[in-house]
């Protein structure tokens, strides 16, 4: 495995860890999968659709999200929004994230 491949793999692992937090933070309002993908990309976090959609399903199964199908034009879209359970958890996750950043800043300084 080359250094470039190693870097890619480790970066991917690092990003994977933060996607849940990123997704939950952006779902205070309703978003469908593709719009969320674009929103995250606009904010600088490129997420593979193969990662995002299964993650949305998993978070919904865990009760963190709610979803509803809506017909827009001729196309049905599944809209996701953070659930009450997710809303309760989000501040704690943010706190946890801030803690990690703070620790890592100290370690990497």
């Amino acid at each position: 495995m080359t250094n470039t491949e190693n870097l890619e793999n480790i970066s991917l692992e690092l990003r994977r860890g933060v996607i849940v937090l990123a997704v939950l933070s952006q779902l205070s309002g309703e978003q469908y999968g593709y719009s969320l993908l674009k929103l995250l990309a606009d904010l600088g976090l490129e997420v593979d659709q193969g990662t995002l959609y299964p993650l949305l399903r998993r978070l919904e199964a865990q009760g963190m999200l709610q979803s509803v199908w809506k017909i827009e034009g001729a196309r049905p879209r599944r809209y996701y929004v953070i659930s009450t359970e997710g809303r309760k958890l989000l501040p704690e996750l943010k706190k946890e994230w801030a803690g990690i950043v703070s620790v890592m800043d100290r370690i990497l300084a």
């Binding site: 469908y32 999968g33 593709y34 659709q49 193969g50 990662t51 959609y53 299964p54 399903r57 998993r58 199908w69 196309r75 049905p76 879209r77 599944r78």
Partner: protein, 368 residues
Amino acid sequence: MNLIDRYVTEVGKRLVLVKGHADIEKELHSTLEDMLEDRAQKAGHPADKAMEIELLKEYGSPDKVAETYNPFPYLIGPRLFPIFVILLKIVLGAVALGLTIAMGVQIIAHPPATTMELFKFIGQGLLNMVSAFIAAFGNLALIFALLERFTPASELKFGAVQKVGSKFTILHSADEKEEWDPAVLIKEPEPQDVKIWEPILAIVFTLFVIYIFNFNRQWLSLNYYDQGIWFVGFGDLITGKLGSIPLFSEAFFHWLPLMNIAWLAEIVLNGMLLRSSQWNISTRLFSIGIKILQIVINLLLLAGPFILGITAGALAASKVMDMNTAQAVTTALRQVIPILLGLGIFGKLVEIGQAGRKMIMQDKPAKV
């Protein structure tokens, strides 16, 4: 069905065991449509086939996409599941066919003495078949589970397979470095393709018909008991019956040689279809010829004496009904049978028309 529909269907085939797979397919479809629309807007022209292919190529092979939705370890994963299903169908079909033939041969070689024995024999045969199905399923599942566990994806030389008509197409190689090509989804199933089980079933059924009409004519009878219970078929095997009335008259069996020719021709036709796996000009013409012969037989039956052996006298003699009722029944039958034969002729004419149309539309050269 456009390319996105086909792609989603392919992904769906790999997710049949995943809860909510219909929802996943719907969402995937919607996302791909969104992405395509986005690309079309950026390109400044409506989405075309090339754009669709490019999008699906980037999105990844159906295997790869399906794998992301499988949260749990599986016995047989998405990369092997489609080929497992195809092989399972083939194996179960072969087991069913083999056991059915074996059962038929055994019945012919050692005919059961009573109806009860016959039913017991058939029941035992069905139980054997269920056991064989379970064993075949178990063995195949075990082989695939072992492949799934111990064979890395890179070592599997066969990728996902797609069934197009009766043929199987390798959808993509499991070699990660080899790109999958969505263009394989474009290929339409060919209308002349033959499903393998159709000719097999037709041959087995025709052989059964030939056997009964030629060697066990007595089975084609209406049997009655003292309490007025009626039973059609296996007339000579029933114990304790009072009597039986043959279903068909001698006038019907007069044309049996001609019927045998038609049935044997059907067997030859289905053998040809089994061999070539598709309809071609020769088989279509042969099929039209058989249908013409069947029309001729129907016309001969229609023009000749009454083909049913059920007469008012025989019905009255059974003491299940009186003479007046028996006459009413036979009069009704005499009116219904010509109508049925006429409908049969009409049906065959329609089939000839359809076969002719397909033959004209078929642009492929004859294979046989």
